[in-house]
Symmetry: C2
Subunit: 240 residues, 2 copies
């Protein structure tokens, strides 16, 4: 990540945090307005301060990018240049492929207000534009770094889309669920729940479906056994 002529130290610090949130730690900074090191950047970066200590700081973006094989420029507005324009997702997928092939890839971010100068965009091989609401596009430097770093991590790690957090329990086995439904049915039987008789099959099927549909743990089943027992015991002297 290459910050070109960033102005506020706070934003440099925020960019460092955004990068490190997603495991990126190689920052380059071109001609920071307020000099270097910058105490406000350090204060803002807190846990990501190491990125600032180790950042490469150069006078020009040519120096900061000289050893890179491929450069992305982030820009919101069209530049009237012939240049591939990519979503962060597409760009970071390409970056991951290139880096896996041994290339060095950089992403240029412009100054807070003006963004990148045309000269820096010309230098880039491709443009990254975040697909924002056309009626309101106000991403700041830190947000732009955040989204790019997020997409980077998405492309290089395989986060499970969905996992069921189980805490200290385990999923119930089908047999356990069916035993519970049988016990429930038996209790209900005693209360005259299955009435009229000709509706019994569909009512039973209904009950079994409800419990088959829910992802239940063994703890859930124990809870349900307790619930049924408690209800049945309050429902009349028959069960007490």
């Amino acid at each position: 990540m290459v910050l070109v002529k960033p102005q506020m130290g706070e934003n440099i610090g925020a960019a460092a945090r955004a990068m490190w949130n997603f495991g990126l730690d190689r920052m380059r900074i071109v001609a920071p307005r307020d000099g270097w090191p910058n105490s406000r950047a350090v204060a803002m970066a807190s846990g990501a301060g190491r990125l600032l200590d180790e950042a490469m700081v150069t006078e020009t973006s040519a120096e900061a990018t000289a050893d890179l094989n491929y450069i992305f420029a982030t820009t919101a507005r069209p530049r009237d240049m012939v240049k591939p324009v990519m979503t962060p997702e597409h760009a970071m997928r390409l970056a991951a492929r290139k880096i896996a092939a041994g290339e060095r890839v950089g992403v240029l971010f412009g100054a807070e207000r003006a963004g990148l100068e045309n000269e820096d965009v010309v230098r880039a091989n491709a443009i990254i534009t975040v697909p924002v609401n056309p009626a309101f596009a106000s991403l700041n430097l830190g947000q732009c770094v955040l989204l790019t770093a997020y997409e980077w991590r998405r492309q290089v790690t395989e986060a499970e889309g969905e996992v069921l957090e189980l805490g200290r329990t385990r999923m119930a086995e089908t047999g356990e669920v069916e035993r519970f439904v049988a016990a429930l049915t038996e209790r209900l039987e005693a209360t005259g729940f299955f009435w009229p008789e000709h509706k019994r099959p569909s009512m039973e099927a209904n009950l079994r479906n409800i419990f088959a549909r829910a992802p239940l743990t063994d703890t859930d089943l124990r809870t349900f056994y307790g619930v049924v027992r408690a209800l049945a015991e309050r429902s009349g002297p028959r069960e007490s």
Copy 2:
């Protein structure tokens, strides 16, 4: 997007901006610490101030979520509950499907420091956890809203992964490129470039490959014609 007990007005404003950047405009706020309306939130929201004007503000999160069919809770740390845990991507894909099917879906975000209370997480149908660097997970409220809103927009719009920005020009036709290479070859012929003679076929193939590989516009070709002419005219009296 439901902000539960947000503290700083600035963060409420930042959340509004993050939402509107990605086209989301229905915000709910539960028990904001500093009351409502909040002038700091308004100042920070700037172009997204309408979201604050139209926000539903409630005392409890139960009220804020009563009419929703499905609730996500965003949380960084495991809660020791049996609950599906999803990436923002997976969660927003599910949300898009549910909303398309007529359901109302909400995402709960907790207070700046403590995050959501367990009671709110219990209420949720699923948990969203952003897959951050395990060594450094410091997303703030605005960033968490930003990433979720970004994923929402990614799921409901079909942004082209890559487009070639053409400015005022068009891609060259193959025939135009080949005519240019032929003209170049002819010029080079006159300079004795193709030497030794037995290497000519591979040298010619090489040249054609270079120009076939590059995505060239008609303007690029005109530029190249000019370059070749200029070089040839300076190279000696033969061409002048």
